[in-house]
Symmetry: C2
Subunit: 160 residues, 2 copies
């Protein structure tokens, strides 16, 4: 294995492990717990679930792997802050999307070669990428793993 | 830049960014807030601060960069769960250690070459590493960044 292929493996392994951790937390929370705010005045669990789905959905676009699958979730779960008064999809709906999305993204990511991971993500221009070659697709996985862990650490607090 | 050197850069950049985020959160919390439990019955902020310091301290050993600087923090902040009855270092002491540790680790990490990052970490044997070359030093940074983000997502909840 080359160093580059090992680097891609450890980054993707950690992403998949973080998803597995989060899936386990979600399974351990019932819908009532998911409807609670993590702490008073902060995001509800269900908002975080929708937020993670919407952010991960946008990775398809950033990685040049196709269009968002759930574009309707961008507005309520990324652009807007949590608002208990806004109508949200049911927890069961979001849970089902999560379970579908995890293997779907894994399959999509598997179509990229090692070299592909070191090409630019779609939010950076070709000119900028020449100057900043670290703004590649692999970096998207790294930053999204951090984001996922940050919120996983919050979701687990809903467990009693 | 080679793909390997770009990979090392994006992993270390993310680690440093996660440390910076956490430093900012710590600066925004006063000692009273840090003494609170994140949610009732869960870890206190000060426990998480000590925990992060102790886990990061152990990275020196894992990366073959020397001995722990604060071995006395392993028992109360890693082996033991949070216990409000146990005597803890003062918040000011832990804050000072954090501020010292962040640049200290950065300086230590800077002594490793790109190739060094792809050598085994010290918790894996040479024989196992031959079979599992992904258990390298770079992987330690990746897993510890995830761990840090997980707890940073909790610490920020203490902000009112």
């Amino acid at each position: 294995m080359t160093q580059a292929s090992i680097a891609v493996k450890i980054v993707l392994d950690r992403w998949n492990a973080s998803l597995a951790t989060t899936s386990k937390i979600l399974q351990e929370l019932n819908d009532d717990q998911l409807a609670q705010q993590i702490v008073p005045g902060k995001n509800r669990g269900i908002y975080l679930l929708g937020h993670l789905i919407a952010v991960h959905d946008d990775m398809l676009r950033l990685l040049g792997l196709g269009d968002k699958q759930y574009p309707e979730l961008g507005e309520p779960f990324v652009k807007e802050a949590d608002n208990p008064a806004a109508p949200f999809p049911a927890a069961a709906t979001l849970r089902a999307i999560w379970e579908t999305q995890v293997p779907f993204l894994k399959e999509k990511f598997a179509t990229l070669t090692i070299d592909d991971w070191f090409t630019r993500h779609t939010a950076v221009s070709e000119a900028d990428f020449q100057k900043e070659p670290h703004r590649n697709k692999l970096n998207i996985i790294i930053t999204r793993t951090s984001h996922l862990e940050y919120h996983a650490g919050q979701l687990i607090l809903l467990k009693k």
